[in-house]
């Protein structure tokens, strides 16, 4: 597949000041709320440490926990399926629907479903699927992927949604009042909820000890999809495992505080078996996870998909999530997506200033800043780097190992700053000059000053 040019995509977004400033502000507000709720808990940093340790332990013993989970879940009456990859996941889901004659589905938001391309897969096979999360539904209607893992349509303005609903749902294009827009969506979705043949959702936590799972949402969209229809199919990445209910509250406390700065998700629902008269299936998905577990960047699997790293990332907030053209954008995306397709996502690890804030907000302490270095190195070693970079770096490495050449380079820079006419310096040949005045050239370098001092 073609390599993603995130810089080019981001450039369009950053220049659209209405969208960019709204996006930046909303996500920064979430980061501020997160700081405030975290600060109210004296043991916050210990909680992060503990959550990281539990995830590391569980991942290091994942084989045992998965088997224990399957045994307990099966005993609870849950049909457990194993999917090696996205294709197998989609096929399993489709087969279940075939057996039950399912035509229409509503489903809660799931990044795993995005990862597997489930929506497209089922659409091609004539199944009518409606996303039940408001933001995700907006994105579905607009034919876009979610731009943010918790706030899928956060890159849009209210007027964008009003326009979209007018086109797709026949509402008033000039009314962008959120209450009105919510009502439009609710009226459309209620019909779908009532007649859905099956419901779907993702999973936030798998509990090995009890064979149950937990789904966290703020809109209850997963709950209605899970509880109203006679058939419920949930999908979980195998890394969602934790040992049991004793460990769960820690993660629940961290999740919503990290994501949006709220103490808890509005709906934290526990599923330990099918409802009366219902059939419950759970598909456990690998899709590269065991390979990742054996790799140097294995701690990415600790991720609980809270999006704190997105919200704090100064590059993400100004680039918009769609610029990454990936399932997972933001800091976690730039260290995760290259493990799915290094060529396609070779430029993503460069969408970072090394500010390091992502590593500090991560509730499970994934060393994202270290992984950025890891992937840049990997990109170079696998020769997925830009040729222009390679030549510059090769030439630079020769020059900078030599004292004489470093000094010559400094002199050249200063002479250029001093003698280049402003018109040329500020021209399109110098991208820096678009947003910067060039620095004034100092009279002498430190070294020249030092040498004069020594003489006098």
């Amino acid at each position: 597949m073609k390599q993603v040019n995130q810089v080019k995509n981001a450039s369009a977004f950053v220049k659209d000041s209405a969208h960019r400033s709204s996006h930046d502000k909303h996500l920064w507000d979430a980061r501020m709320r997160r700081d405030k709720t975290a600060a109210a808990i004296p043991e916050w940093e210990e909680m992060r440490e503990l959550a990281s340790a539990i995830k590391k332990h569980t991942l290091s013993n994942l084989d045992t926990y998965l088997e224990r989970f399957e045994e307990n879940a099966t005993r609870n009456g849950i049909h457990v399926h194993w999917a090696r990859d996205a294709e197998e996941h989609n096929r399993i889901v489709y087969d279940i629907f075939q057996q039950h004659g399912v035509k229409t589905i509503t489903k809660g938001k799931s990044m795993l479903h995005e990862e597997c391309g489930l929506r497209e897969y089922l659409a091609e096979r004539g199944i009518d699927l409606a996303e039940a999360d408001l933001g995700e539904r907006i994105q579905q209607l607009d034919g876009q992927r979610p731009s943010h893992i918790v706030m899928p349509a956060i890159h849009k303005l209210r007027e964008d949604v009003a326009e979209l609903f007018a086109e797709k749902l026949g509402s008033d294009p000039h009314n962008d009042d959120p209450h009105y827009l919510n009502k439009v969506m609710r009226n459309d979705m209620r019909k779908r909820f009532v007649k859905a043949d099956a419901g779907m959702s993702g999973v936030n936590f798998l509990l090995a000890e009890t064979g149950g799972f937990v789904v966290c949402t703020n809109e209850g969209n997963a709950d209605i999809s899970a509880n109203v229809p006679p058939l419920y199919v949930a999908s979980a990445g195998i890394e969602k495992m934790i040992p049991g209910p004793e460990q769960l509250p820690l993660f629940i406390r961290l999740l919503s505080r990290s994501a949006l700065g709220f103490a808890i998700t509005q709906y934290t629902s526990h599923y330990h078996g099918p409802a009366e008269g219902q059939e419950l299936h759970l598909v456990l998905v690998d899709n590269g996870r065991t390979d990742r577990l054996a790799s140097e960047t294995w701690e990415v699997l600790k991720c609980i998909r809270c999006s704190a790293c997105f919200n704090t990332c100064p590059v993400f907030r100004r680039s918009g999530g769609l610029s990454y053209e990936a399932t997972y954008a933001g800091p976690i995306g730039i260290v995760l997506e290259p493990s799915y397709d290094l060529h396609r996502y070779a430029q993503l690890p460069y969408a970072c200033t090394h500010c390091g804030s992502c590593g500090n907000v991560c509730p499970v302490k994934i060393p994202i800043p270290d992984y950025v270095f890891h992937w840049r190195k990997e990109v170079v070693e696998q020769k997925e780097d830009l040729l222009s970079h390679r030549y510059e770096m090769l030439a630079g490495s020769k020059a900078l190992a030599s004292e004489k050449l470093v000094e010559a380079g400094e002199k050249f820079t200063l002479a250029a700053l001093k003698h280049t006419p402003h018109a040329l310096m500020a021209s399109r040949f110098n991208p820096w000059a678009k947003a910067h005045e060039m620095p004034a050239a100092p009279e002498k370098t430190f070294r020249q000053w030092y040498r004069e001092q020594q003489k006098s």
Partner: protein
Amino acid sequence: MKIAFFVPCYVDALAPQAAIASYELLQKLGVEIDYPDEPVCCGLPFTDMGYDQYAGDIEQTFVDHFSGYDYVVTPSGICTDQVRNHFTAVEQTPEVQQLRGRMYELVEFLHDILQVEEFPWASFPHKVAIHNACHSLRYLHHAKPSELMGPAFSKPEALLRKVPGIEIVYPERVDECCGFGGTFSIWDPDVSAQMGKDKVTGFNNAGASYVVSADYSCLLHQGGVINKLGLPLRTIHIAEILNGANA
């Protein structure tokens, strides 16, 4: 105590006043200073872009010049981070490991090692906004990053508070990245510039007359943006204030 003074390429050529102030300040504090009078690179751009493999000779040249001192001190957080935390293209001999442990950025050196109590020659009756470069903040631990919970501290602020007359202000987004990011400003100039604009606008809104930082790399970027926007702000290296600059 004998230290080696390391002047990074960008400071030598584009911000010599920061190096001169650092050098004079260390002299005033009675430190014996060696300045290897040959330009040497720390290899940062290579590690930054993933080209560690090309940086072996560069790092060896650095080791040859700076081994054997009690401390190596530099007015640059990014270069300190590079040597301390990423200097791995060269073989990790005991000599190299010792050098990496002895690499100090100026603020840390003044605050942690010399534990300077006063700067009697300094006075700066102006409103200054402190800019902690991300590398100094999160990898050298100059201050508590806003997103980490726990007791607040700031080494640059503690030093500046010893300067009579100074008034310290912070922007609303206390420590958001200014968008320089070394190679990032060339890789993604539009996003970098927007971050720079947001940052200096924040300083301006905080009522600052000066932006002070221990890292001139960020200040070169911010200074360029400030001048482009025509804001009434000036940039200054922390060593200049501590050395008694009177603006």
